[in-house]
């Protein structure tokens, strides 16, 4: 166990249930490095949905609430609402966040509630054995698209930004330094932060979509197919080549939900004290 693990993992829950070479464990490590650098463990309140990636949160020795498939974001809102000083982080998979939980993503982003959503994108449903996800490319053969996927995929980063997220980044497990930095930005950002992590799943994505179950092959695939970009024009270019753009796409300041609620409560209470209800 490396020193970060010694300090932050729930020892009695180990080993990780992830398969050999899975990116999820690397995300645990990058996230913990961000927590270590910021020293924010005591404030951390995590939620997670259902899927391989949801287990990332459970191994971290801090408060965690792992709920239902797709519902990690509402649970996080409940935690944030009851104590706005919490650093609330949600771990979800691409299916968890963009399919069954898609509506919650839209509305949490719209509210610009101060929380971080980490979406682990392994391009399919891994835990249930390799079925098509909203992130799966057209043409891909999965367990439920045996003749090739005919549906166009959804770009989580674009959806989040369009809905009102105020921080949007995408990195991969093959870029741990940038990923740690993105986590740190997100955790300290005041508003809705969306961090997508392209991650290798040798066992399902590797075998069914990419043609090899070897961890090395899948890791290299991320290196070859994910391209860091500086601006939106580059982003389009990379996409046109069929590759996946990485980068810190968006960070802006906008009124944050809990702050606005606090202000409204003050205003209403003041008016009430003066006599009128409104």
């Amino acid at each position: 166990m490396n020193p970060l693990g010694e300090k932050y993992l729930r020892k009695d829950f180990l080993p990780f249930l992830f398969c050999p070479g899975c990116g999820d464990g690397m995300i645990v490590q990058s996230f913990l490095q961000a927590v270590e650098d910021l020293g924010c463990r005591e404030n951390l309140a995590m939620t997670a949905g259902i899927g391989c990636s949801a287990w990332i949160a459970v191994y971290i020795h801090a408060d965690v609430l792992k709920v239902l498939h797709g519902r990690a974001i509402p649970a996080a809102i409940g935690l944030k609402a009851t104590q706005p000083s919490r650093t609330v982080v949600t771990f979800t998979g691409d299916g968890d966040c963009l399919a069954i939980g898609g509506n919650h993503l839209l509305h949490a982003a719209r509210r610009n509630i101060d929380m971080t959503v980490v979406v682990v994108n392994n391009q399919l449903y891994a835990m249930t054995g390799g079925q098509v996800a909203p992130s799966t490319k057209v043409g891909s053969k999965t367990q439920t698209t045996p003749y090739g996927n005919v549906e166009k995929p959804l770009d989580g980063c674009k959806v989040a930004a369009a809905a009102g997220a105020t921080l949007v980044s995408r990195w991969s497990t093959a870029h741990p330094r940038q990923l740690i930095r993105a986590f740190k930005n997100a955790l300290t950002h005041k508003g809705f932060a969306f961090v997508e992590v392209m991650s290798q799943c040798p066992v399902q994505t590797g075998r069914y979509l990419l043609g090899s179950g070897s961890p090395q092959f899948n890791f290299q695939w991320l290196k070859d197919n994910c391209v860091a970009v500086k601006d939106t024009s580059q982003r389009d270019e990379v996409e046109a080549q069929g590759k996946i753009p990485l980068g810190d796409f968006l960070q802006v300041e906008k009124p944050e939900f809990m702050e606005e609620v606090r202000r409204m409560n003050e205003r209403v209470k003041e008016a009430k004290a003066k006599g009128g209800e409104r």
Partner: protein, 369 residues
């Protein structure tokens, strides 16, 4: 109004988080909470759907607040997985279902009692849950206070199974001062974090509950779990599930409530719950005037079903008629509890959304004799 009484009681009981989604005939509860919670530093959220509402409530419960949601038929359907979640993570919370006609969109403005079994068995797997059935606006108030107390006491979601008549009825409600009411505190850990075992039960089967960010770094998962909170093996899962059922069922005596109106020795007995208790009471009164001895057995806590109390309340009855606004759900429970070859459990059932008249009850007794 019954729904307003419910909201008042919740505020008085210390509810500080409410998440809901508008639906007739439960919307007034959301509306009152959105007006009142900001004044007491609480938060009322209108979520994107009922699934979000119930899950946000569970999050808020672990966040340390007393929390609540309210809905009706279709919304109650959407909440079922979340109710199972609240059971599994042992989050105290209160869910109000102001019943309307079903199935599906059914009859939004009409009363019904068709969610009797859904309230008990709506989520997947084995579990136990507490369901209270008010029949007056006053009981909307009293049951809401009771619901918060029971949910904290047993760390379980408590459902208030009301219906359109009770939710919308306008009648006098007596609101006691807060200091006249007793409020159950949440069972906080008695040991420091190093010694704390997250799901190790106390002698009564209920574990201690630290709020998030109080140093306990607790893992709370929706899976069947070991005492430490990890995924349990077969034996641990078995123990976990049996415990969350037993912690409720073993303490039924503490909260089960069955009342008898009228002549407790009358040979003819009605069995009722929820709003139908009202018409049954009138029928009992009218019967008395006509020289007909009647008793009405009112089941206030329908789940877990109070077998012993119902049996006691029906002792000596020769004719038993279950009165309800569904096709015989309470009837089935009474049949299970009263097993006497000579007594047939009769059913007066009214559906379609029109509340039954007491005269209809008396006519039923006449005609079906």
């Amino acid at each position: 109004m019954g729904n307003e009484a419910c909201a008042e009681a919740a505020l008085l009981a210390g509810c500080r988080f409410f998440a809901g989604y508008p639906i007739t005939p439960a919307t007034e509860i959301l509306e009152v909470m959105s007006r009142r919670l900001p004044l007491v530093d609480g938060l009322c959220l209108q979520m994107e759907d009922e699934i979000a509402a119930v899950v946000a409530m569970v999050g808020a419960s672990w966040g340390g607040a007393k929390s609540m949601t309210a809905t009706s038929g279709p919304g109650f359907c959407l909440m079922q997985e979340g109710i199972g979640l609240a059971v599994a993570v042992e989050a105290p919370c209160v869910i109000v279902n102001v019943q309307r006609g079903g199935p599906a969109s059914g009859q939004s403005t009409s009363t019904a009692q068709g969610d009797f079994y859904q309230a008990r068995y709506g989520s997947n797997g084995d579990y136990s849950i507490i369901v209270l059935c008010p029949s007056t606006a006053q009981e909307m108030f009293d049951h809401t206070v009771k619901a918060f107390n029971l949910s904290e006491r047993f760390r379980v979601p408590v459902i208030i199974l009301s219906d359109e008549v009770v939710g919308h009825i306008r009648e006098k409600v007596c609101i006691p001062d807060a200091d006249q009411l007793a409020f159950a505190p949440r069972k906080a850990p008695t040991v420091p974090p190093e010694e704390f075992v997250p799901f190790k039960p106390d002698a009564d089967g209920v574990p201690f509950m630290p709020a998030f960010n109080t140093g306990y770094r607790i893992p709370v998962i929706s899976q069947a779990k070991s005492l430490s909170g990890n995924r349990g093996n077969a034996r641990e899962a078995d123990e976990n599930i049996r415990r969350i059922v037993a912690k409720i069922e073993d303490h039924l005596d503490e909260f089960a409530d069955v009342q008898v109106y009228g002549d407790p020795k009358a040979e003819t007995a009605f069995v009722t719950f929820g709003s139908v208790c009202r018409a049954a009471r009138s029928a009992v009164d009218m019967g008395r005037e006509q020289g007909l001895a009647l008793r009405s057995v009112e089941v206030k806590t329908v789940w877990p079903f109070p077998d012993t109390l119902v049996r006691k309340a029906l002792a000596g009855a020769k004719r038993i008629v279950v009165m309800e606004m569904n096709l015989g759900m309470l009837q089935r429970e009474v049949e299970r509890v009263i097993r006497q070859p000579k007594i047939k459990i009769e059913l007066f059932s009214k559906i379609g959304g029109i509340y039954p008249q007491p005269q209809e009850f008396l006519r039923f007794l006449e005609e079906k004799r």
